[in-house]
Symmetry: C2
């Protein structure tokens, strides 16, 4: 995809890339069925009635349908106890037809998220949030890692973005994006800075970035005067105002200085879901 000319050549097309990846996953799922009689399966757990959670899970199930993964949903009521969630996970851990287990966050307040995540068999941890998988990531052994940063890395690889020795700035230090993303860049020998809401002088960091990853949920935080010419920008932020979706980057203005940039929507989102599909396939392949 790199090297294209024309007005859209700067845009990292997350939808097209996700489609390509899903098509690869689809072929491999078919091979697994044909050659080993294994159909990859993903079980999702949602506790309570959060509409965003339900929407995200629905998108993941649709992707499963597209690639031939069997998706099974567990919608539990808001008053489900922690013990009941853990019991369900333990049953899913044992089932040979369940390759990936995904607990959609957030969980209701009476449930301890970390305790629940710890119960997932790390080898079935499709989301990559289990501390064992996070720890392997930290020591450079990336097996099942969080889907959003992994999807971003795939996009950069696909567009032949050099990483070693580059100055990378990650804005946001969450457990699901910022910290694992920074770790993945360190594992690839980039110089990495992580800034966030406590950072005193954000511009001083962003202005020097060769690669800028933003994941804050603050609408249009990144303006054109904050970046240098030629920067590669990945926008993993999302915020809503009156049913319109915004990224963390003032896209229309910043694109003029960027050499590559992801749009919102249609950038990181589809890549996250495609990565989840890769993970479920990977777990199923490991069973052969």
């Amino acid at each position: 995809m790199p090297g294209e000319q024309g007005s859209d050549s700067k845009i990292i097309d997350g939808r097209a890339l996700a489609k390509k990846i899903e098509s690869e996953v689809h072929s491999k799922v078919q091979m697994l069925k044909d050659q080993h009689n294994i159909t990859p399966g993903l079980s999702t757990i949602v506790v309570g009635d959060d509409p965003a959670s339900k929407m995200y899970v629905k998108l993941k199930h649709k992707a499963c349908d597209r690639v031939g993964i069997i998706a099974e949903d567990h919608f539990l009521s808001e008053d489900t106890t922690q013990e009941e969630v853990i019991e369900l996970i333990q049953n899913l851990n044992k089932r040979d037809d369940v390759h990936g287990i995904l607990v959609q966050l957030p969980l209701p307040e009476h449930i301890n998220e970390q305790k629940v995540m710890m119960e997932i068999d790390p080898s079935k941890d499709a989301d990559g949030f289990h501390p064992l998988n996070m720890g392997k990531l930290l020591i450079g052994n990336e097996e099942l890692v969080p889907c959003t940063p992994r999807g971003i890395m795939t996009a950069l690889e696909e567009y032949n973005v050099d990483i070693q020795g580059k100055d990378v700035v990650v804005v946001g230090h969450s457990n699901v994006v910022g910290k694992p993303m920074a770790t993945m860049f360190l594992n690839r020998n980039a110089t990495v800075s992580v800034s966030h809401v406590y950072t005193q002088n954000l511009n001083r960091y962003t202005i020097n970035a060769d690669i800028l990853i933003v994941a804050t949920g603050v609408k249009h935080l990144i303006k054109p005067d904050m970046v240098k010419e030629g920067v590669v920008i990945v926008d993993a932020g999302i915020s809503k105002e009156e049913d319109k979706v915004y990224g963390d980057v003032d896209f229309d203005n910043v694109i003029k200085k960027a050499s590559l940039i992801t749009p919102v929507p249609g950038g990181v989102g589809p890549m996250t879901i495609a990565t989840l599909m890769q993970h479920v396939l990977k777990v199923a392949q490991n069973k052969v």
Copy 2:
């Protein structure tokens, strides 16, 4: 300790601090013996004849003697198999009198370090290198974490160094110091940059650091023109030349600009060992 005046008031005295911590550990070990009849125990494993490994383990055993922890050594010959090391670890995992298990790195080439580390019961992982403990660290749940970065954090806390919102630069991105150290600063809401041998322009990072942590093993890498007035510097590097020990910081010149600085030797080293003692005590306390 902060606020002292005079010529030595800039120096973070790792030996004095370690002595204070060990004295606290000693009292708590005594209480554990008196009140619960538990004596904390550390088992160390060294494979092969690396003189540095033997020296490090000896220092750790001496510290155990000082604080009342029972230390048990397992010196295994160079040709010990991976399976034999794992069998030993599994036996130590089962023993109630062994609270901490420490495998001194590096291991001989025919042994897979990661496989061996994975066998240590994470709750007895005195060194904090088990991926499960590393992963908990990454998500902000610091239980047993690597001793050198933990010891550095203790020293900064002891000298009342503010961390939140500060610009921190870590030079070196190893699994034992750089990456866990950066993670600990992120967990405390510092803005963190990690540079290393692949970094194009090291000065651009170091010159803006409020807190600079160096762990490269490159003698006198950090010169006075690379830091700003008032910087807090921690030197976790060590290199030897003709039996003389050097840090990564050109101490005699850099101290003029620093507000606080650790010497080599007598800075980070003693703090690492004192932290190990805290960890073994912590595991034993968890058994109550």
